[in-house]
């Protein structure tokens, strides 16, 4: 891997963002909208029953953390879409840039954007709704990392699908994560799902993270085993996504699709 080429990918993504007011606005607009919406819902629920404060507070934390997962997935996928829309994919793939460097550059760039967005959300949640994400204590850092990596695994899978199926697969960028949300136990415990869906939830890293968060906020207990399991699932899914991406890269070169992306 060449750091110089990874830097080139990061630079390109940064410059494209700098010239696109929409891309800059995206960092904050949707996350802020969500945190404000859920902030008011939280306030309303507390006005009905103040005794559920701990439980309701988790809602805001869940919004912030789910957004982090979704954004890291979306950023990794959108950077490839932009290259496709710009008809720049052939130039990139004709250069010495390796797939691993291309993806690594996208990941690092997405990390930067997600960190900025999440920081703002955390501050808004604290100042406007009196919710301090740092109250998640020892659970916070592993949760952030696990959700970030889960987002990258999904993002890498979606990039592979877009590379293979072109614009037909674009919809996955905005829909796949939300398809997983009902079984990710973001806003309710896994136990509240029907048993077949509980089995599905146990295979999703985010479900373990949100279970651990709820446990910590309600009793202060750190469910270390849950977090380790989630981390293991992350490694598995990231590995599978990398294999799928490598397979698709070879497929599109075999089929000649790489030379006419977005077909």
């Amino acid at each position: 891997m060449s750091w110089r080429r990874i830097r080139g990918v990061i630079l390109q993504n940064f410059l494209v963002m700098r010239h696109s007011p929409i891309r800059i606005m995206e960092v904050l607009y949707w996350p802020l909208l969500e945190v404000v919406l859920w902030g008011f819902i939280t306030r309303y629920l507390l006005s009905i029953d103040a005794s559920i404060k701990g439980g309701v507070a988790v809602l805001l934390g869940a919004v912030v953390l789910w957004d982090l997962m979704f954004r890291s997935q979306q950023e990794l996928s959108v950077t490839y879409l932009i290259d496709m829309w710009d008809r720049n994919v052939i130039n990139l793939h004709a250069s010495p840039l390796r797939q691993s460097e291309y993806v690594a550059g996208g990941m690092i760039f997405s990390l930067g954007r997600v960190l900025v967005g999440t920081t703002v959300l955390v501050v808004v949640a604290l100042l406007a709704f009196d919710f301090n994400l740092f109250n998640a204590g020892a659970v916070l850092l592993p949760s952030l990392l696990i959700l970030m990596v889960m987002g990258w695994a999904l993002g890498l899978f979606i990039r592979a699908m877009v590379m293979r199926f072109g614009s037909n697969a674009e919809v996955l960028v905005w829909s796949l994560a939300f398809g997983l949300q009902p079984v990710s136990a973001v806003f309710y415990p896994v136990a509240s799902l029907p048993s077949p869906l509980q089995a599905v939830a146990h295979g999703i890293p985010a479900a373990h993270v949100f279970e651990a968060l709820r446990a910590f906020f309600s009793s202060g207990e750190v469910l270390g085993s849950r977090l380790w399991l989630a981390a293991g699932l992350d490694v598995l899914y990231l590995g599978v996504a990398a294999l799928v991406a490598a397979k698709m890269y070879n497929n599109v070169r075999r089929l000649g699709i790489l030379a006419r992306p977005g077909y």
């Binding site: 080429r5 080139g8 390109q12 130039n91 793939h93 000649g256």
Partner: protein
Amino acid sequence: MPNPAIQVENLVKDFKDVRAVDGISFTVPRGEICALLGPNGAGKTTTIHVLLGLSLPTSGRVSILGHDVSRHRSEAVRNTNFTASYVALPYRLNAIEILRIYADLYEVSKPAAAIQEVIELFELGELANRPFSRLSSGQQTMVGMAKALLNRPELIFLDEPTASLDPEHAFHLRQILLRIAAARGMTILITSHNMTDIDKMAQRILFLSAGRLIADGSPEQLRNRFQASDLEEVFLQVAQQSRT
């Protein structure tokens, strides 16, 4: 003796039930300006895409600058570059920004000097800070050419480079390429439907038709072989033959 710039052995490329390239073999020595000529669908662009590793060969072997492209693509293309009429660059960015990115991707040493060199070479000074999307197609071609010469490639692939250029700019571009090729010993593999490009630049022509290599020689040799007064006549004869 150095490896040839390009070595193609029995290259076959199929797309489902269509054979786009049908068992061609050729070698391009370093420093040669070689043209791939042929009617639409002859397999010229497919051949260039296989040489760049954008497509994998169905069978056969392709190496550039001594590297097997299928196995070591990144190393193989390190000292090459490419531009084509059908590709674009990030449309929001200006030429300087685009060149900064590609200087990193090609690991150009002293990038600021290299960028300045190609900006001057293609007289992009006034246009260099304008977004790519606000350039005319001819100006975009020149930015693409600047990108293609940024890393001082030993081998350059040009797929219809003058398609959007008026005769004056096409002439200017040819002069630049000929000057650089002579000064640096740069190898050029070019496709074009502009016979003037080929006549003025190519030392050798590889004529493809229906994926097969049907003629290989200098422009003069091909004119003599087909008893034609110019390359356009050669082209028309070959195209007609390939249809019958």
